[in-house]
Assembly symmetry: C2
Homo-oligomer: 258 residues x 2
Amino acid sequence: PTSVIAVANQKGGVGKTTTSINLAASLASQGKSVLLVDLDPQANATSGLGVEKREGGSVYEALVGDALLSDQIVRTVYENLSIIPGEVNLCGAEIDLPRMEDCLHRLQGALHSVRMANVYDIIMIDCPPSLGSLTLNAFVASDSLVVPIQCEYYALEGISMVQRLIDQVRNSGDNPDLHIMGIVMTMYDGRTRLSQQVLDEVREHFSKIIFETTIPRATRLAEAPSHGQPSLVYDPDGLGTAAYDVLAAELIQRLAVA
Amino acid sequence: PTSVIAVANQKGGVGKTTTSINLAASLASQGKSVLLVDLDPQANATSGLGVEKREGGSVYEALVGDALLSDQIVRTVYENLSIIPGEVNLCGAEIDLPRMEDCLHRLQGALHSVRMANVYDIIMIDCPPSLGSLTLNAFVASDSLVVPIQCEYYALEGISMVQRLIDQVRNSGDNPDLHIMGIVMTMYDGRTRLSQQVLDEVREHFSKIIFETTIPRATRLAEAPSHGQPSLVYDPDGLGTAAYDVLAAELIQRLAVA
Ligand SMILES: Nc1ncnc2c1ncn2[C@@H]1O[C@H](COP(=O)(O)OP(=O)(O)OP(=O)(O)O)[C@@H](O)[C@H]1O
Ligand SMILES: Nc1ncnc2c1ncn2[C@@H]1O[C@H](COP(=O)(O)OP(=O)(O)OP(=O)(O)O)[C@@H](O)[C@H]1O
Ligand SMILES: [Mg+2]
Ligand SMILES: [Mg+2]
């Protein structure tokens, strides 16, 4: 069966897109068939994989109208990895969706046929940094969440908001089984005390769900998107690539026992 | 007269809150009377200044109802610096506001009496990372914008979206005079080629509006919020403090000739 996983955290700049791209690419290189959905109007996951943004090419039409999501799927040059690109129009959805009937179930409905076709092992959704209707739609449409947390103070504060939103979606009955598949610590910089303090704190409070793998701060991870390549292509022997490879194996392990 | 400035960029984690707090603190230390409005449901500016978050203490009630904004103003322990705290309920505004009449002018209306009272030289609004109704309200309510841009690739891509939103607000007549007061480059790391490339690119394309001052990547800037202090208190002799001090002087200069 297809697993739908949202990569989400309303805190900005914590590594959601970097994790979506590189985790998806590593999962694909390990033989999983992956569809990446770029739900962010910034469409960073789209440009980070070197895919062209096309007006009308995103989930937007399927969210606010009746367009078929399967028509929007684009194969990337990377084996086993396809994407539904993002586009600027998605920011219209933040204003349009709240005015629609059943506005929280639009993505779940649009993804239904893609999911039932069982073509993909994993559908991964890169979420924008907000708690608006796009992110809420992703929470309702997903089986579980991967929550990236930067090793910095403000990111620590943001965890309670993610949990609050999960509880809201579970308790309202919109998606009663939603849970956090794992917390992944990102941009860990061994030279700073702050990184270690935040890591220790998250390990202590979320010991059951935090991934073993920590993603180090690595400049080449930040350079890769300007070449439109995932890290395993841009910097195959780098620290970032190795970390995302191990994270992918850990995620596959957790899916197997789920 | 009072100047209203929104610190905004829909890209997450580019230093909006760090700039809001430290620019406001430096402006206050240079004798300007400043009111900081925390418009982000994450309320990072509030905790970064060591101010307590109180349910009902934010602009939320004034946005969706008729509460008086002046009742929400809290003096900080720092001279010349007051704040309207953020709170989690603000994320309700992203869903509630689009359903209201005149939803883009709610903050402008609520701020009107505070502005007319002429108590503050500057009202600075820390915006959330999104293009939803909270940020749109800030664009309509402000005279100008300060746009922080991180010296990284994705941040570079985000500039066109900010410009698009400004054009939308100007052309619709909601705020015809809105303009960018300045672009401030943040987290500049002299050790990486990427930082220099992004800085050069922004200097080339936006030479008229970029601030001279560049904010360096400095770990003590990221540590300060966990102590609830602005950088000029936590690390008075540090690089981050010096940069924000110079930026404050540059901003005052630009306000004088505006
Ligand atoms: N491990 C890392 N090491 C170094 N740089 C990183 C790392 N992870 C992400 N970055 C860089 O940090 C910035 C923020 O990361 P990214 O854009 O992936 O975060 P995000 O959570 O998707 O942001 P947004 O909230 O805007 O969607 C980017 O410039 C990215 O290249
Ligand atoms: N110049 C700097 N040097 C080092 N760290 C910094 C600097 N500026 C900001 N940071 C850190 O980077 C992270 C992102 O900054 P900040 O939270 O201010 O960005 P933001 O744009 O307000 O994020 P959001 O989009 O979530 O509102 C924070 O952990 C902050 O402490
Ligand atoms: Mg992103
Ligand atoms: Mg912020």
